[in-house]
């Protein structure tokens, strides 16, 4: 597609004489210049593997275009990105076939990464691993030094890039002291300073909290007017409505492309290919309405126009069926908890709360608000600076770490932080063996845990051969094998595609329904809305709201002040004057 903008390369021909004498030539050049990237029948197979990661990919990127690539894990999105700046096949070896033309470079010649990198800037998902300087300014200048930009021009280019990403004033800050969103914006600035024609961002928001995500999408939107092209790999459908084009990748191939209205209006199709569909389109489809309305305001107008309205009685009955917790059995009691790292400001600052047997609690808030620090007190990984934490009626200082770990299971965000064994059986047996269980008992518990997570029968498989979603399930199984009363999960859906997310969430729901107390830390508000029964909102180390999930979502001012965004289902419901937690609830409330 074209954006109607005049490519800057053509502006050089605006001199009257040249235009008069060469309008034909200008037309040809205009057409050629519109295609700043061109891939034809591109295939790539990583060395040591047999299945191609990219299969016959054909794609042209037009001047000024903002393209989003979607697809499940293993669809080839990152491989695609790494081909564009030459990391593949120059740095990452394998069988590379096909044709790649990048801006003005001769496609017949082999180009080094640095040649392509000047034209195509690549931003990676993991911002920690791509920042290596001691201050923001030096980080942004690194590429300029390599590209031999004259020293007198560097300061201006660094300032300009920092201004583009909103980091003016941060020049002397150590990157390690920045928030996740700021770090990722710095990573983008360090690429922008090199003034590439195209910026490619490979899942830049995966590890970010809601405000960090919002900032990156706002930045991508603003950059489209300043550089020649943006390509962004993303899972979250709602944020890509501003794109010009969406590519859907499956098993290394582009199976569909078009404007967001075309691709995103097919909820079943997206779900089938591992992409979470927009809740607006799911609702419209369930109501038998056309699914082209992607925004909430359009969807609400169409639903109302079709004669749907709220059934007050049905809504009230929903609230009455709200899960009520038996507050007799307290499993966690936190009193006036304060935690400080060194002499720094309190990471947890005077938190008091109780968690009851069988609750499903979601803890939400921005990065650095103290969520993880707080829950790490529950299994003894942190000791309170002040205050007390009781688990099952006993102060954590009276438990040994081993006893506490048996009662409170903690699943870390990244399964790769714990996987070490040669087989799945050995991996899951690690916990029970540490707790001194007999061989028979260990085997019984391990097989039961593997059965719960769906990995039964694969006991002898190498854990590292599993997909990220399966490794997350394995991490859960290795904690379940110790049969804990309380299960804590830190960001269990991060880095997983939609199928992986729903699989792990269904597992957690089953464990909750079987009577376990669940505490989950998450940035995904749709997970809170659809799975949790209670929501604890934290800000700057304090609990600012602790109530049922429905009540939390009713407090729109607070959500906004914490930069937390309700899921679409909640916002659509609120447009109708009710607070619902899911599309199913909304459908229950609507009548014709």
């Amino acid at each position: 597609m074209t954006t109607g903008k005049t490519p800057s390369i053509i502006l050089g021909f605006s001199g009257g004489d040249k235009l008069k004498t060469g309008s034909f030539l200008v037309n040809i050049l205009t057409t050629l210049a519109l295609h700043i990237l061109e891939l034809r029948n591109l295939s790539f197979t990583y060395r040591g593997t047999s299945d191609p990661a990219l299969k016959q990919v054909t794609y042209t990127h037009n001047h000024g275009e903002f393209t989003v690539i979607m697809g499940a894990t293993g669809a080839g999105k990152s491989t695609f990105c790494r081909c564009l700046n030459g990391l593949i096949p120059t740095f990452i070896k394998g069988d590379f076939q096909g044709h790649l033309k990048v801006t003005d470079l001769d496609p017949q010649e082999k180009h080094q990464v640095y040649e392509l990198a000047r034209r195509v800037g690549l931003v990676f998902q993991d911002f920690e691993a791509q920042l290596f300087s001691t201050n923001v300014e030096l980080e942004a200048a690194f590429a300029l030094e390599n590209f031999a930009v004259p020293q007198e021009k560097m300061a201006d280019r660094v300032q300009s890039a920092l201004h583009q990403v909103g980091l003016t004033g941060f020049e002397n800050r150590d990157p390690s002291t920045l928030s996740g969103g700021e770090k990722q914006r710095l990573a983008i600035a360090s690429v922008l300073a090199g003034r590439p024609d195209v910026v490619v961002m490979d899942e830049p928001t995966t590890d970010l909290d809601p405000i960090g995500k919002r900032d990156i999408f706002a930045l991508a939107k603003s950059l489209r007017n300043e550089i020649q092209g943006i390509i962004l790999v993303e899972h979250e459908t709602e944020h890509i409505l501003n794109a010009d084009r969406v590519l859907l990748m499956v098993n290394g191939a582009i199976i569909n492309e078009g404007p967001p209205t075309t691709i995103l209006s097919q909820p079943d199709y997206l779900e089938q290919h591992g992409v979470r569909p927009l809740q607006t389109t799911v609702l419209l489809q369930r109501l038998g309405l056309p699914t082209e309305s992607l925004t909430i305001s359009d969807a609400v107008s169409n639903i109302q126009a079709a004669g749907w309205r709220i059934n007050e009685g049905a809504c009230q009955s929903l609230e009455q069926t709200e899960v009520t917790t038996d507050k007799m059995n307290t499993v966690v009691r936190i009193q006036d908890l304060v935690h400080r790292y060194d002499q720094a400001k309190a990471a947890v600052d005077g938190v008091s709360l109780e968690v009851y047997q069988g609750e499903f609690v979601a803890v939400v808030g921005q990065n650095g608000c103290g969520k993880t620090t707080m829950v790490k007190h529950l299994n003894g990984l942190h000791k309170p600076t002040h205050g007390t934490v009781e688990i099952l009626g006993k102060n954590t200082t009276e438990w040994t770490l081993s006893e506490l770990g048996k009662r409170v299971g903690f699943v870390f965000q990244n399964p790769d932080h714990q996987i070490f064994a040669n087989t799945i059986l050995e991996e899951v047996s690690f916990g029970p063996q540490n707790y001194g269980l007999s061989k028979e008992e260990t085997e019984k518990k391990v097989l039961h845990a593997l059965d719960i997570v769906g990995l039964a029968g694969q006991e002898d498989q190498d854990p590292f051969s599993l997909t990220k979603g399966e490794r997350q399930q394995l991490a859960l199984a290795s904690v379940l094998a110790t049969d804990p009363d309380i299960l804590i999960l830190d960001e269990p859906t991060t880095g997983l595609d939609y199928h992986g997310q729903t699989a792990i969430l269904q597992l957690i729901r089953q464990l909750h329904e079987a009577g376990r107390t669940i505490i989950i830390i998450t940035h995904s508000m749709w997970v809170v809305a659809e799975y949790a029964s209670r929501c604890i909102m934290m800000s700057q180390g304090k609990v600012v709201k602790d109530s049922s999930v429905r009540t939390c979502f009713e407090d729109r001012d607070l959500l906004e002040s914490l930069h937390l965004e309700s899921p679409e289902a909640v916002r659509i419901g609120q447009a109708f004057g009710v607070t619902v937690r899911s599309i199913e609830e909304l459908i229950t409330c609507l009548e014709k």
């Binding site: 691993a129 290596f132 300029l144 390599n146 004259p150 560097m154 660094v158 690690f430």
Partner: protein, 249 residues
């Protein structure tokens, strides 16, 4: 570097090459003497550098190590070094005036080395270190790789911290058992640590390549340092001290 303390002292301002060469000359000077009095003079000089560079904050963090090194050195050298006339002995242990003096000299020397290294890392950014290495003739990839090692230390330790906690949450007890049992317990930590070290290195290499790291030919510098009169003065003094010491003593 990860212990860098932003400040505006003279030691922060001197040319990175002066810092590197100066540190090397200071270390060479410390090995020239075996007298505790000479070593004490050098250590006192280094302590003045600690004070004037504002590095005391970092020194406080490693004070137990510095004291341990000093005491360990004094005790072991005094007991095992067989010089002079012993005035006490028991089995393999002996004590003489000379061995005690030697023990003190070694303790002062090791602490002077440690402290001067701490002053260096407290006053030198990674980029300055790399610049200094290039200025003394090292190729850019080598100087960058050396400086990067310092930068990656905190990231590496953060990863290790998370991995240790993840395994402790599954009942791994690193405290109990004798030395061999404890060594065995580190196996569940090593695999994820290596996996992450390889993964981080791979990602970092790609990020570097994507920013033109492998570009051939001259590169330019964002930070420019120029040698000032105080650089020449410092280097001249240290060089003269070394020449006098090694030639005249």
């Amino acid at each position: 570097m990860f212990l860098y303390l932003p400040n505006n002292t003279l030691l922060h301002q001197i040319h990175p090459s002066t810092k590197i060469i100066g540190l090397a000359l200071l270390l060479i000077l410390t090995v020239a003497f075996e007298s505790p009095w000479h070593q004490l003079i050098i250590l006192s000089g280094v302590l003045i550098l600690v004070k004037t560079s504002g590095a005391a904050k970092n020194i406080r963090r490693v004070l137990p190590l510095i004291i341990t090194v000093m005491l360990f050195s004094i005790i072991t050298w005094s007991l095992f070094k067989r010089i002079g006339d012993p005035f006490w002995g028991y089995g393999p242990f002996t004590l003489s005036k000379d061995s005690i003096q030697f023990g003190f000299a070694m303790g002062f020397r090791l602490d002077a080395m440690l402290l001067s290294g701490m002053v260096f890392v407290s006053c030198t950014k990674v980029e300055e270190f790399a610049y200094g290495l290039r200025a003394v003739g090292l190729p850019f990839p080598v100087s960058f790789a050396l400086s990067l090692a310092f930068r990656l230390v905190p990231l590496f330790f953060t990863r290790i911290g998370i991995i240790v906690q993840a395994q402790q949450s599954r009942g791994l007890d690193l405290q109990s058992g004798h030395v061999f049992q404890r060594a065995k317990k580190y196996v569940p930590l090593l695999v994820p640590i290596f996996v992450y070290a390889i993964r981080d290195t791979d990602l970092l290499s790609m990020a570097l390549e994507s920013k033109g790291f492998g570009m051939r030919g001259e590169r330019t510098e964002f930070l420019i340092f120029r040698m000032a009169w105080y650089d020449y003065t410092i280097l001249t003094c240290l060089l003269a001290a070394n020449v006098l010491t090694w030639v005249l003593l």
